[in-house]
């Protein structure tokens, strides 16, 4: 895999999610990209069964269609465990320790496009049936270091959408470390958490 940038697309006033997604998809197709598949990233949040006094620990279980055989288990402190898909059944076995939060399953789903060495994913984020926002994921396959190609990714995003964008800060702290699948997942989690917080306040 290359370097991935997950960008929350702002909703234009007077347009609903589907309309904005349609416009984005049209722009991407006009740029010469071709549709390759559907994609989905889902996240289920678990919390530890509280013992007296201590605050509950949060665990996010994330699946990504780009890595269909893996489950990502992420803690709030940023550590991420990558396990086989069978890890899901482990979670059901330890429901005495960790129980799923009700109504906390959030999902980003949409269409995947390819344009040369770039992969573009456009999707809507939903919690249950309620629409939360739009996410664009851009991946540049030949590069392995995020710090090298972050501004290149920004320029690409601006090129295909036609407007100036400010991409989120670099996911990895070390400037020359290789980009990992967990870095992509952490970017999704960051965006999902923002939407979750916005809906609770």
């Amino acid at each position: 895999m290359g370097v991935t940038c997950v960008y929350p697309w702002p909703l234009a006033s007077g347009k609903n999610g589907q309309q904005v997604v349609d416009i984005l998809q049209k722009n991407v197709e006009l740029a010469g990209a071709h549709w390759s598949n559907g994609w989905c990233v889902d996240c289920e949040t678990y919390q530890s069964v509280t013992s007296l006094g201590s605050p509950p620990k949060i665990l996010h279980i994330v699946h990504n269609t780009e890595f269909p055989l893996s489950t990502f288990a992420c803690l709030e402190n940023g550590s991420c465990l990558i396990a086989d898909r069978g890890f899901d059944s482990v979670m059901s076995k330890i429901k005495g320790c960790y129980e799923p939060r009700k109504g906390a399953k959030i999902e980003a789903k949409g269409q995947r496009y390819e344009l040369g060495d770039f992969v573009i994913k456009i999707g809507q984020v939903t919690v249950g049936v309620s629409f939360k926002g739009i996410l664009i994921e851009v991946e540049y396959l030949p590069c392995l270091v995020a710090s090298q190609c972050w501004s290149l990714l920004q320029e690409f995003l601006e090129g295909i959408t036609g407007i100036a964008v400010t991409v989120p800060s670099l996911p990895s702290k070390k400037s020359d470390s290789k980009f990992k699948p967990s870095d992509t997942i952490m970017q999704y989690l960051e965006q999902f958490n923002k939407w979750k917080k916005a809906s609770t306040t």
């Binding site: 040369g116 590069c143 392995l144 090298q148 501004s151 290149l152």
Partner: protein
């Protein structure tokens, strides 16, 4: 469009000629076989023949001389007027091939001119004796090669250089820090071919080893690197050309992070519609450009 109309007229004229010939045949047959007193069949045929003849005359008068452009291929240019339908497309194919070779010829001329401008070709040399000593460099003992590699490692500490031998072919695997891998295939000391791959595309498997990259950027860069190898080998000294090529490769460290000197952008669409970073490093100035932005 006018040519198409003309083509149609010629087709009509040819089919009318064929009809006339058939009618003449049947007129003679009727003249021999029709034993009736009124000779009705013969009369009918002659009336038809007269009509067809006047049609043919009319069409013939309206025909203009064939345009030279469409008969470039001499008599084969008349192939399209062949009434046998299977042969008609042959002319278009011939025309395509002809124009393709013409273009190739023109491009080759431009390439020769360009090469002459940058390097004096062998044929232009006044003294033909100053030929490159190619033979000497083709057979180099392994110990010498090892020495050269060690020297290169010292000269370019930024690059990771590995010397390998796969199926009797000497390979230099050069890694530009976290950016790309260059596989330089050597013949003795001389650079035979260069392949550029992503840093995560290397494999010990020798079949995969020789395959080209799956990324458009690196495939384009393979072409550029081969051009660079050719450019640097013009000096005739294989060690020097290897040194120059490796020095040129070190500048790819900033392939993804630096913008094109000319357009000040990271990405540009090339002629094939691929969005590429500035993957042309000028052989002399060693500055990054997009292919279409490079100085002429």
């Amino acid at each position: 469009m006018a040519f198409e109309a003309e083509k149609e007229k010629y087709k009509i004229a040819l089919s009318t000629t064929r009809d006339v010939r058939n009618l003449v045949d049947s007129a003679f047959e009727n003249a021999i076989k029709d034993f009736s007193t009124e000779k009705t069949k013969l009369k009918d045929t002659l009336v038809k023949l007269e009509k067809k003849l006047s049609d043919l005359e009319k069409t013939g008068n309206s025909l203009t001389k064939l345009d030279n452009q469409h008969t470039l291929l001499g008599k084969s240019g008349l192939l399209w007027s062949d009434p046998i339908q299977d042969k008609t497309p042959l002319h278009d194919q011939l025309m395509q091939t002809y124009s393709w070779t013409q273009k190739l010829n023109a491009q080759a001329k431009i390439a020769t001119e360009s090469l002459k401008r940058h390097h004096v070709l062998d044929s232009d040399n006044v003294e033909p004796a100053v030929k490159r000593p190619l033979k000497e460099n083709l057979f180099v003992p392994q110990s010498t090669l090892k020495q050269i590699v060690e020297q290169l490692k010292k000269t370019f500490p930024k690059l990771t250089i590995r010397w390998n031998k796969i199926a009797g072919v000497s390979l230099l695997e050069v890694s530009v820090k976290l950016t790309l891998n260059a596989i330089i295939i050597l013949r003795g000391c001389t650079i035979d071919r260069v392949m550029i791959k992503a840093i995560h595309e290397t494999s010990e498997d020798k079949d995969e080893f020789m395959q080209c990259s799956k990324y458009k950027t690196f495939n384009k860069m393979t072409d550029i690197a081969n051009a660079a190898a050719f450019h640097y080998s013009q000096c005739g000294d294989s060690k020097k050309s290897l040194n120059n090529l490796l020095n040129w490769l070190t500048y790819y460290e900033k392939l993804f992070s630096e913008k094109c000197i000319k357009c000040k952008k990271h990405l540009q669409k090339d002629a094939d519609g691929n969005v590429l970073p500035p993957c042309w490093i000028d052989f002399e100035t060693l500055r990054l450009y997009h292919l279409q932005c490079r100085p002429s």
